[in-house]
Amino acid sequence: MSILDYKEGTVNLLMGNEAISRGALEAGVRVVAGYPGTPSSEIIENLAKVADKSGIYVEWSVNEKVSLEVAAAGSFAGLRSMCVMKQNGVNVASDFLLHLALSGTRGGMVLVPCDDPGAISSVNEGESRHFARMLELPLIEPGDFQEARDMIKWAFELSEKIHNVVVMRSVTRLSHASGNVKVGALPVNENKAYFSFGSHLLDPLNGPVITAPVPMRHRQQQDKLKVIAEIFETSEFNKYTGPEKPELLIITSSACNLYSMEAVNILGLDKRVGILKLGTTYPLPEKLVKKHVDAAGAVLFVEEVLPFIEDLTRIAAAAWGDVAHKQYHGKYDGSIPTVNELNPDIIINALAKITGIEYRAVSEEYEKKGTILSFTGAPNRELTFCPGCPHRASYWSIHNALSLNGKGGFVCGDIGCYTMGILGAGFGAIKTAHAMGSGTGVASGFGKLGQFGMEQKAVAVCGDSTFFHAVMPALVNAVHVQSDMMLVVFDNRGTAMTGFQPHPGTENDAMGNVVNAIDIESICRAIGADVHVADPFDLAATTEKVLDLVENKSGARVLIMKQSCALSPEKKGKKKYEMSVDESKCRGENCGCNRFCTKVFRCPGLVWNRDKGVSMIDSVICAGCGVCHGICPAGAITREEARV
């Protein structure tokens, strides 16, 4: 099944991201670019799959900023273009976005950031909404799955009306949720790409696309926003449901709309509480909001994560005279939390408190029993690397080398599966973890602290995709300033975390075409780093290499760990070795081992046999990488080349 297979006019169960892809295709999008990141990745994946058949161009770019630039080029040439990323990607793209917002666009251009309140698959819960306000761009937010499809189409029209970028924000609970969506027709596009710049400098539509003169362009941008504000006042995506004069008005947007409806329904408050769901959140449709606030007794803002609609409303309300003096509930009075994602229960509890209703989801007895039973009877599932994952082996060597060095060395982490190096899975090696590429930049800084007596060695790690995304400038910096640091590149041949998207180091692009693969090793050498390569599955040699590089070398050095992801198509389901445990040699829990393999190495393929007091291999789970052979102090874990 692909997004092309849904027939016009039919209702289908679509994931939010699928609805966005399909809507964009129906809108006639031609150029699509982005960088992988949960929960946004499927939007581009769905479009990449049908790129050939639909005659569109889809690209996984090196990072979010470049993806926005690539999409902008499509727009400058008169085509509809879309750019997709996760929330923090907008930070990366924001420098270009600031300028793009000023220069304006040509063909309809939509930026789709997918936020992740609660950081379900992130290491932050940043919000893209605030960028719309800061950079003065229109912001719309679908409130359900049908709207995800409908609003993206509308977004292109809006963009072409004002010749500027429109931001359509999704969240995890829409992008990664599914609902019924009625789809429309797919257009035939034939307009040719042409960049028109022949007119004079000040012509925004046929002159060069630039930001100067800045005050003039800035004024034009703000005028466009005023046009949009008027359109938003009457948008069908702003919906009110509830009594004419509600006791309490909920103002909400996005997935919070669904939580609010649920909460009102469960508490039976539909005669007392109204919901104003905003699809257009910046600029705020002030007149519409004022009208509803005016009719209500009090207001509750329900939104994720920081106050946005609430702030805009409160600021606007300052000029509303009497209307301003309502009771406002939301982030500032603590009714709604300012961290983490929301859910129906949070809104139920907030509503119950405000309206004075008693609510218990289940009896106290049930709740108590459930908590105890699940705590004692359902052992928790700690996250770990897959069996056969090269990261476990890499961290083993890094951890051991730093422990032997004994000077309190540590790993500056980065973003990918290997971020789990914070946990037992990576032997707790990671001690800093922030944004893409930051591990290397932070290590570059640590590497200059020797003059202040710092003897601890900083080792940065990054994945192959991350290397291209943001590590390269940091490495250039480290080499240039002769920082005493080391970068370990976990080259597992793909963007593994988000589902094996290609990157500049792979031989294929998003659409499956054969393209130029860029060699990380050569880049590092060209930058001037001291470059080495290791096979992480050879634990002894790799540990020695890491230790030698940490201890005996100075300046920026790079070690590239080459071993494909265990889930990569070339490896999945294929065992290199058949592993077994010689029970006569296994020392079990005795002094000299104390279950070293199962307690410390902790590969899911190694199982502790309580009855026999020995370790064993679960041949169903074991990926046959052979690495554990090298860790057994008694030599009890044996490996044999697997027969093909």
């Binding site: 698959s121 359900d144 799955f145 990664h176 129906p344 699940s374 599932r381 996250l383 789990m420 307690k599």
Partner: protein
């Protein structure tokens, strides 16, 4: 259906095909004209963690992709102990449970640091929370049919067999025919019907 929305939680461990199972059941109901909302949790949880799909079925409208606490009507556990975890958070005394009997051991259990309960112990725990509990040897039966991957289809059959959802065999057949190659439809139908029988349907 006994309630609107009718709330189903499909739970299991990353990599078990939880999302696919939710989509099949969801599509069967969507074909019948119901509003279906599915909320999924994946991402880092794929790496050995617990995963859940929340399925909301309604004749009236779309619902929140997150089921409120205590509001699950049916819990489908592709992995046994996940049923208990979900029941504690989302269940109530009226919730029906259908659970596979084949464990996927957490790393802590594999490593010998934690203990995995026996099916009798698990059943005892669940019985303190609700009474409608159905254990299905889905993985064992799937292996007997020739492929452990069929266990999810058997579990879907078992859900149908409970008779709480307004779906029939043809809905399953329609959905599966657009999801699997034609040659695989037969064995999937067989698995589905077996699951239905095992659940007394």
């Amino acid at each position: 259906m006994i309630r609107d929305p009718y709330n189903i939680i499909i739970t299991g461990v990353g990599g078990q095909g939880n999302v696919m199972a939710a989509r099949i059941i969801g599509n069967m109901l969507a074909l019948r004209g119901f509003y279906v909302t599915i909320g999924e949790t994946f991402g880092a949880s794929q790496r050995g963690g617990s995963v859940m799909s929340h399925l909301r079925v309604s004749e009236k409208s779309a619902w929140s992709p997150q089921i409120p606490k205590g509001r699950a009507d049916l819990v489908v556990a592709l992995e046994p102990i996940e049923s208990l975890r979900v029941m504690a958070q989302y269940g109530n005394t009226e919730t029906a449970v259908v659970s596979n009997t084949r464990p996927v051991y957490p790393v802590g259990v594999i490593c010998g640091d934690q203990k995995y309960p026996s099916m009798d112990e698990l059943n005892g725990s669940l019985k303190q929370l609700c009474s409608n509990i159905n254990f299905i040897d889905a993985t064992e039966e799937a292996i007997r049919l020739g492929n452990p991957i069929l266990s999810n289809v058997i579990m879907i059959g078992a859900v149908a067999g409970l008779g709480v959802l307004p779906v029939d065999d043809s809905d399953f057949e329609k959905v599966m025919s657009s999801n699997v190659p034609a040659g695989k439809l037969g064995i999937n139908m067989e698995g589905y019907k077996l699951g239905k029988k095992l659940a007394g349907g």
